[in-house]
Symmetry: D3
Subunit: 156 residues, 6 copies
């Protein structure tokens, strides 16, 4: 039976990584903001400036705050954060890549970057529609560390 690593004797606890070896690690996550037609038009028709660039920055800055936001995450030095937002037919797709050379993985940092970029897209579009939805936030890829590489199944 799998156990919750963040619980010791019934008490929430930060996992001990004192004996883990620092290695290069990468995580890639994705997520989506589902748009209504009105919101899609508002985003497309913005005459100047790039709203998605605001969301990309929010994602980058959010990745750096992961250990402050997720109670049991370890603080980590990130050696690279990149967030890419792209408007598709009826959604904005967000992808975040995070790297470190520390003793634990950066999955949560990549997922936090995606989540905060998604919330920022939502914030900029919420005046045009209240029926937006943030969806499909998941880990796409992970490499480095003892548990090995992971590649998500493609969605059909």
């Amino acid at each position: 039976m799998p156990k919750l690593t963040h619980f010791e004797a019934g008490r929430p606890s930060m996992v001990d990584i004192s004996d883990k070896t620092p290695t290069p690690r990468t995580a890639i996550a994705e997520g989506f903001v589902l748009l209504t037609p009105t919101a899609a038009a508002a985003l497309e028709g913005n005459p100047k400036g790039n709203p998605l660039s605001v969301a990309e920055l929010a994602g980058i800055m959010g990745a750096k705050k992961t250990a402050e936001l997720i109670p049991l995450c370890h603080p980590l030095l990130l050696s690279k954060v990149e967030v890419h937002c792209e408007q598709l037919a009826d959604c904005v797709r967000i992808q975040a890549t995070v790297k470190t050379r520390e003793s634990t993985g950066v999955e949560m940092e990549a997922l936090t970057a995606v989540s905060l970029a998604a919330l920022t897209v939502y914030d900029m579009l919420k005046a045009s529609s209240k029926a937006l939805e943030i969806s499909g936030i998941r880990l796409l890829h992970k490499s480095g560390g003892k548990s090995g590489d992971y590649q998500a199944e493609p969605k059909i």
Copy 2:
């Protein structure tokens, strides 16, 4: 054609709410963490302590950080934050309620609370499965403010 309220002359900008009237406002948001069977078993089988309570706290604390995380959000004093996480058959459902008496709404605070609670659930379960997904984050209800009340359509 709808416009992006956060953009003025092509430049990101915080909307001017100096002339808006403070009124009681509420927002309720929901979201889901989709579980694999292994993750569901790990969560259910945790012998002592309540992992979902960790996520609820992360959501409450996250709501208070909204203006720091979403670049163009106004700082607001929140008069109430409540986050409820519940394990269902194949997911954890999260619902957040936020109240204020300020000059702008708290939709983003409720959505941020849900997102951070979802990330925290994910974090506690990620050792049992890498195929978790955060999904269906949306506004359920909003009241107060000039734009009036909003009630989301039920999903079928």
Copy 3:
């Protein structure tokens, strides 16, 4: 039987203060750092500069962070924070005064200011002695709000 106001149906929750009236409120708290003779001498003998002023600032800045540090505290605008550290025979006494005009009290802000000032005194003296102790942190006085005024009993 008294109930925990921060718990609703077994779940931690930020108390709803939406219907409370904003009024002027003050709280005063105190605390002590118990010194060893070596630490007392190091503090007294510091040739230039005022180490206790560093602790006073840490207390003021800490008061402003209370809602970020104490999970169920409401964010509040503080209209006054003052922290006073004074070296006595075998201890440093710290007193903090905090004021607001909001809908809930500032006891936690005053206690947080004292605690962070005490930790800062400890930090500056820890190279001279490891047997320091932080003690006697309590509310001295509170005024304003529905629950009325409070004045602590003097210690004998």
Copy 4:
């Protein structure tokens, strides 16, 4: 005569640890929240949910914020944080363990974790009694680093 390491030529300064060697380090601290009978009954009688688990989380999250709260502390990556709160006859005892593999010790992180957990216990109980007191915050044990190990004297 002992000197204050955080003062250089009368000016507060962060100690230079550029030439110190990273080694495994641990610190354990303890502290107490002294309860009145009413507060003790309120804590014991809480029907569902674990209030002390809220304080444990506040302590863990607080340890990660130490360098932000204590002006002259170095930022550190923590490899383990654990906080344990236990209700005794007339008090809550708090113990925090912090580990790192960096170039300076984690005493302040352990003491900050204890202090913030204590403030959180206080916050949850303050509606039942205003005469609570936070007391006896001290370093119990420290290992690693050039200054060697330290074990506090037991209190009688």
Copy 5:
């Protein structure tokens, strides 16, 4: 002889604004990043994306953090923040406008916004030249509050 309002009996202190009346207040500040020819060319020639928009966002987000960064500043709710960066012949000019409806002015918020936007411009250009300089950060205009309006002298 003028006195330092932030000092009481030789101790740093946050000015008591409990009795001041909330009124609409505005502050406008400006500042400059002096460019070398190489840095100016790098900024102009950036093929896609708007680097100055990154600095504008950093300024907006920085304004919201003023009370956390400037030790004796009061926390304030900001009702509007706008930052405008413009490349001129041999510099980037930055202008920030901040509004509130609180009991104290927002000069420090406007100056902090300008400073952080300037640092961000510097950061993006520092790979092209190390001889950049941040200069001329000053208050241009202030309205509201008891001390009345202020309009800076134009520079010749």
Copy 6:
């Protein structure tokens, strides 16, 4: 033609330092707050306490927040931060020294320390004059890292 290292394909991005070697690095920056005669007199005549020490602390604490404030900066562990403020005839001169042993330089940390110390000096003096100006913030010296040492030209 020089390129902006923080932009990849038109998108802001944190530079990848995964393959850079950690080495000892130092940066020294300076800046000035230009005083009016009234402000200079207020600063000089402050009867007790040291206002410039408040600014020095704000600079030290600000250096630790650089990665949170400058969107594309990497989080770094700082091994030393020192800030020195000195009142000269018609200005306050600020100098900050920052050290690290990480994979990227600390120029932004030193410049951020200077900027926040300057804003704090301004804040303490703004009641005596609104015509203060922050000026001449620049890098004086940098050592360590692949790009080699840098020494600023003296100003005449």
